[in-house]
Amino acid sequence: MTETGTSAPHSPAPSINPPDLSQLFLAFAKISLSGFGGVLPWARRMMVEERRWMTAEEFNEAFSLSQFLPGPNIVNFSVVFGSRIAGPLGAALALLGLLGPPTVIVIVLAAIYARYGDLTLLQNALAGVAAAAAGLVIAVVAKMAAPVFRTPRSPAPFVAIAAFVAIGLLRWPLLYVLAVLAPVSVALAFWRLRA
């Protein structure tokens, strides 16, 4: 058993201490309200460290599945975890816990913006926040890209640059870009695995 990141030295069991349905819902509501600009780190903290509902290895496996599938990562994660606990009902409850509270909050914020969005004060404050928000996304990209760009003789950096140019600079439709780039990139990865 390798280091799992939990304090429990022995924990190869599939799920250490499964939650009931209300705990499941409340846990995802709490994860959702914990973080700003993405909440995956909070999911790990809750699942692995706080509640011990998963080992670190189980979390990593479920997390990589959630990342590789299209769509919002944490939404996928809630479905993967919820369905393991209680099938479709568990998946639905985890999803509702995750999306319910922020949906209510954001609708209130949107209503305020619709009413007062023209005020100079609010306009100026939001302009500052938007500039900062752009910076946070750039930092996320830098963290994602660093290991990929350090791998020697890998085609991955070229694929990343091609996606950036096609979508960011040329503004081509996502569907067409992915229809070409995704199979090419997977084929390159497959070819590298064989080599």
Binding site: L65, L69, A134, G168
Partner: protein
């Protein structure tokens, strides 16, 4: 709010499609949302799109909440719920079924290749998102400086992003952005 006939249908169809194209999460689909909302449908201006993204960042919760805001802008609460459900629905169903068989193919070469092949695609897409947001948000040197400072703080420290937003909002309120 500028409700148009068929707006709910457009929201439902476009975000359901986007749901299956968002490799790398909701933040990977920002350019596509921008293309849809600003360029193709004309639902909002570039500036409103930047505001919408900023509001989403100020809301606790997952990044996908930006979709809820776009839906609200287009067709009120109904639009918010339709857009959110469309963005999450298809991928949730897919995740549910793939999740059942995922373990079985853990060692399969094609599975490893798909996973490895999609990583650089998602990096490129999120990078494009960052670029599109920066272009929408940054109209003067102060704004670009805020963006650059946010990159540095967020990359090298673990400071809560809310502090970064608070400082940026304060600079904005003073009228510099």
């Amino acid at each position: 709010m500028n409700e148009q006939p068929g707006a709910l249908t457009i929201l439902a169809v476009q975000f359901a499609l986007m749901s299956l194209l968002a490799i790398g999460g909701a933040n990977a689909a920002i350019p596509e949302m921008h293309r849809l909302a600003v360029d193709v449908q004309g639902w909002m201006t570039n500036k409103q799109f930047a505001d919408t993204f900023a509001l989403a960042q100020l809301t606790p919760g997952p990044n996908v909440i930006v979709v809820t805001l776009i839906g609200y802008h287009v067709a009120g609460i109904a639009g918010a719920l339709v857009a959110t459900a469309a963005m999450c629905g298809p991928t949730c169903v897919m995740t549910y079924f793939v999740g059942q068989v995922w373990e079985k193919f853990k060692e399969a070469r094609w599975r490893i290749a798909i996973q490895a092949g999609l990583v650089p695609v998602s990096i490129g897409l999120v990078a494009a998102s960052a670029w599109v947001i920066a272009l929408a948000a940054d109209h003067n040197a102060v704004a670009w400086a805020i963006t650059a400072a946010a990159v540095i703080v967020s990359y090298f420290t673990r400071i809560n992003p809310l502090w970064v937003f608070a400082v940026a909002a304060a600079i904005g309120v003073m009228g510099y952005v």
